[in-house]
Subunit: 204 residues, 2 copies
């Protein structure tokens, strides 16, 4: 499977400098679309924020749609790359979900534009929108099944549990990450994790 | 508190016929925005679908933004009016949440445009978007607290549980209601409800 976050082969940066330019364009796009939304955001706004020429933009992207799709896939990958190594430190399958939510809350608080960007993909690039949630749910379902094999989680855990827990995390992140971050992230993660532990944890 | 779903006082229909026209315009708006989205949807598209004159539109709405806001509030109210009386039949607080999800899945399957419309409010009318979820969570938190008083649910149930369960329902509705409705709604509701029952039900 090709990674949809990567630019096409002829547009992959060949140098460290090219890599930095591509990264600057994606960060600028996150700001531009995060503030203005897709419709009002513009390529010139992105290059201005990135401090680079229009030609550099077209070295890596074909259009506004193209960089938006790349941005959604990039943010989806950023969440995964922030959360996954933290989850890997967990002592058991239930603790893994607590750390998963806690680190997602941290990420959402530090990148409040993420909801606006990924949610707008529902209208701008439905495939990227579905891919983000389907990939997240697939990773979570695999994690839960592994936890079931290790005896941390009930044996009948399945895809529905993954979508349920992902939905929980998304709305807790919106409410207690983006809209109002006054309660400690740890507290929110503990309350939700107690629900999950009792809900799908293996009875002692 | 005024109901934001209602038109302003000077725009309230005074006759049954007026009421029917308003209803026809809102249904047409659901089709128009559900198919085309807010940006590509148009007032003329709405009046054409509703089979009414442009003048009738302006009898009830000031602008495309105005009918979009009314539509979001109307759909939010429609979900509530479909789900609430069904929940009221439940024998206990856990059963209430099972019926809540089951009837929400039924509603989403029958009105697949609901996600597209309410989610687009995040970009078109942030206040209507937040109001939809805040009102839903407030109703759910009140229901859970009442269930705690009746001894069906743990005494420490709070707002975080309501947002968690609402998020679960929203994502299960998207995945198993709108994107793919091949699994029985009953089955999805049973799996999620077992998680909730163990997660927040009062230990026997």
């Amino acid at each position: 499977m090709t990674d949809p976050a990567s630019p096409r082969e002829d547009k992959v940066p060949r140098t460290a400098r090219g890599e930095r330019t591509l990264r600057a364009l994606l960060s600028a796009a996150a700001e531009e679309f995060g503030e203005k939304g897709f419709h009002d955001g513009s390529i010139s706004g992105i290059t201005r924020r990135a401090g680079c020429a229009l030609g550099s933009f077209y070295t890596y992207f074909d259009s506004k749609d193209d960089i938006f799709r790349a941005l959604v896939n990039d943010m989806s990958g950023q969440v995964r790359d922030y959360v996954s190594p933290r989850i890997a430190q967990a002592g058991n399958g239930i603790e893994a979900e607590r750390i998963g939510l806690l680190s997602f809350l941290e990420f959402a608080r530090a990148h409040k534009e993420i909801y606006r960007i990924i949610d707008e993909a529902e209208f701008v690039d439905q495939a990227a929108y579905r891919a983000h949630y389907e990939n997240t749910a697939t990773r979570m379902a695999a994690r839960l099944k592994k936890a079931a094999q290790q005896g941390d989680v009930r044996a009948d855990v399945e895809e529905v549990h993954a979508w349920a827990i992902m939905g929980m995390n998304v709305f807790l992140g919106l409410r207690y990450g983006v809209w109002d971050d006054s309660r400690p992230a740890q507290e929110i993660a503990d309350i939700a994790n107690a629900l999950i532990e009792k809900g799908i944890g293996k009875p002692a």
